[in-house]
């Protein structure tokens, strides 16, 4: 039997999954590996999308040391997630997958 889950994730959905993973880590922030597994991404796409999220100021990057970085959700990112959750509920009400 086929799984009822979507086989295709839109770009905005991937970005939101990444942001939710980061938010889930709270004030400690999330490292790239955590985000990679949390959002179920390949490494190439992870790098590309992390750059995009930082550029849009939805997340911020902090260098812990020369080799590791952690990401935090910005206020703008938090507002975006809240708005997306509302849109998600609205779309779900009409049976529209986003």
């Amino acid at each position: 039997m086929m799984s009822p889950r979507r086989s295709y994730r839109s770009k905005v959905r991937i970005l939101v999954d990444m942001m939710r993973t980061i938010k889930g880590e709270g004030e400690h922030g999330a490292g790239p590996t955590k985000i990679l597994y949390g959002a179920n991404l390949s490494y190439d796409r992870l790098t590309q999308y992390l750059e995009e999220l930082v550029e849009k100021e939805l997340i911020s990057e902090t260098e812990v040391d020369a080799e590791s970085r952690v990401y935090h959700l910005t206020t703008k990112g938090n507002d975006f997630l809240q708005e997306f959750t509302k849109v998600e509920r609205f779309s779900e009400a009409f049976g529209i997958e986003i």
Binding site: K86, F90, F94, G95, I98
Partner: protein, 206 residues
């Protein structure tokens, strides 16, 4: 009798105007959601509600204009009202077809099929509530399937809204001979829009 009829028409126009505003609000929110997600179906949903809203406001304005023309003793009043009624029926069916397209399950008829459906009001007599009923049955079934799979209260509000819209067309069939049936149809339609409004407010707040 005449004053009762005038009150009924006033109430009808009031309910239609409020329902039109609700449709406009849903269209606006669906468009906002489309801008955020680029999901084409949200754009179709937005178009559906804006067409429905335009139909409702068109009917309200047309009816008011009809009374103005009638008061002046113009012979064009009946013709104008006939045009408004046909346009109202056709636009409503187009809106329902857009709802059917936007809320269809993921694996379903192609857009080409949907485009043919959009021509339905032109191909058949739009005065027939039967066409609206047939399209709305599809929409209600899709809303029911969505509710069964998600069990979300928001989906339940949408299901209730579309079911009441369908019911409003069903009770409108005998309304051609009974004024009470017509009034009931308008009230049921209005209640359907109230469910949409509740969904919109709750989805935006909780």
């Amino acid at each position: 009798m005449q004053s009762w009829l005038a009150s009924l028409i006033r109430l009808d126009l009031l309910l239609e105007s409020v329902a039109g505003l609700i449709a406009l609000a849903i269209s606006h929110y669906a468009n906002k959601a489309y801008q955020l997600t680029e999901q084409k179906r949200l754009s179709d949903l937005s178009s559906g509600f804006i067409v429905l809203s335009a139909a409702m406001f068109g009917r309200v304005i047309g009816t008011i204009y009809f009374f103005i023309l009638s008061g002046d003793g113009s012979g064009n009043a009946n013709l104008m009202m006939a045009v408004v009624t046909i346009a109202y029926g056709a636009m409503k069916i187009m809106a329902y077809v857009l709802f059917a397209i936007s809320t269809r399950p993921t694996k379903s008829p192609t857009l080409e099929g949907g485009m043919v459906l959009l021509a339905l009001p032109v191909l058949v007599d739009p005065n027939l509530d039967l066409v609206a009923i047939l399209v709305l049955i599809v929409v209600v079934i899709q809303a029911l399937m969505n509710y069964m799979s998600t069990r979300s209260k928001y989906a339940a509000y949408v299901l209730a809204g579309f079911t009441l819209l369908l019911l409003s067309h069903v009770v409108a069939i005998p309304a051609q001979t009974q004024l009470g049936g017509y009034a009931l149809s308008q009230v049921v339609q209005f209640l359907g829009f109230i469910f949409f409004l509740v969904m919109l407010v709750k989805a935006g707040k909780e």
